[in-house]
């Protein structure tokens, strides 16, 4: 599945792309590649004004609809580490943590609108010698056992070297 969702809002143009996650990466990490995991890519294509809450709502509504229409899907969002434009009050956290907060805000916004839909926002924070990486796996509750398996595999990768909190 590959889906593109273009969005125009307040003079800004965004593109949300949903693409099948690279199964080789899953296998390299010891994760069962038979699961339907979709990579979420979000990018501003044009415009340079502050994003509105309307844009946030539209993007989160699209992701919600995607999961409802594809109940077996697991959405994967990796928060990349490059610097991004933000206000001084948000400069205390790393770019990847800030992106994680934005992604969670989208999820929480949609959850308030659909309180009866059981979906789960799983955040994995992997801290290595390079710093902390933020990964989100979002899926309906029915697929949560699969996500727990994936989390377990990730947690096991470092074996005795891991410190899990």
């Amino acid at each position: 599945m590959k889906v593109s969702f273009p969005l125009l809002d307040n003079g800004n143009e965004y593109l949300l792309e949903i693409d099948t996650f690279d199964k080789h990466l899953l296998m390299d990490a010891g994760i069962d590649p038979s699961y339907e995991i979709y990579d979420v890519i979000l990018k501003r294509i044009s415009g340079n004004t502050i994003s509105s809450m309307g844009a946030l709502a539209s993007l989160s509504a699209f992701l919600y609809g995607l999961l409802v229409d594809n109940p077996q899907a697991i959405l994967y969002f990796f928060c990349d580490i490059r610097e991004l434009e933000r206000t001084p009050k948000n400069m205390k956290c790393t770019p990847q943590e800030y992106r994680s907060r934005l992604f969670s805000a989208m999820f929480e916004h949609e959850t308030r609108l659909h309180p009866n839909v059981q979906w789960v926002n799983n955040r994995i924070i992997l801290t290595t010698q390079d710093g902390s990486a933020y990964i989100h796996l979002i899926t309906l509750q029915q697929n949560q056992p699969i996500v727990e398996q994936i989390k377990s595999v990730i947690a096991q990768q470092g074996k005795d070297e891991l410190e899990i909190s």
Binding site: L25, R44, S46, L84, E85, R99, R123, D130, K159
Partner: protein, 40 residues
């Protein structure tokens, strides 16, 4: 939110994260324009 925090010195995990970052950057770079939303 359901959260898992893992701190590790594992080179294997560090390499896995670097691959994920690389894949993400490749996909982002394939698209024109800026990288993110901007919220005040």
């Amino acid at each position: 939110m359901n959260e898992l925090k893992v701190s590790t010195t594992s080179a294997k995990v560090a390499e896995f994260v670097r691959k994920l970052q690389h894949v993400k950057e490749e996909k982002l770079d394939a698209l024109a324009g800026k990288r993110d939303l901007y919220f005040a």
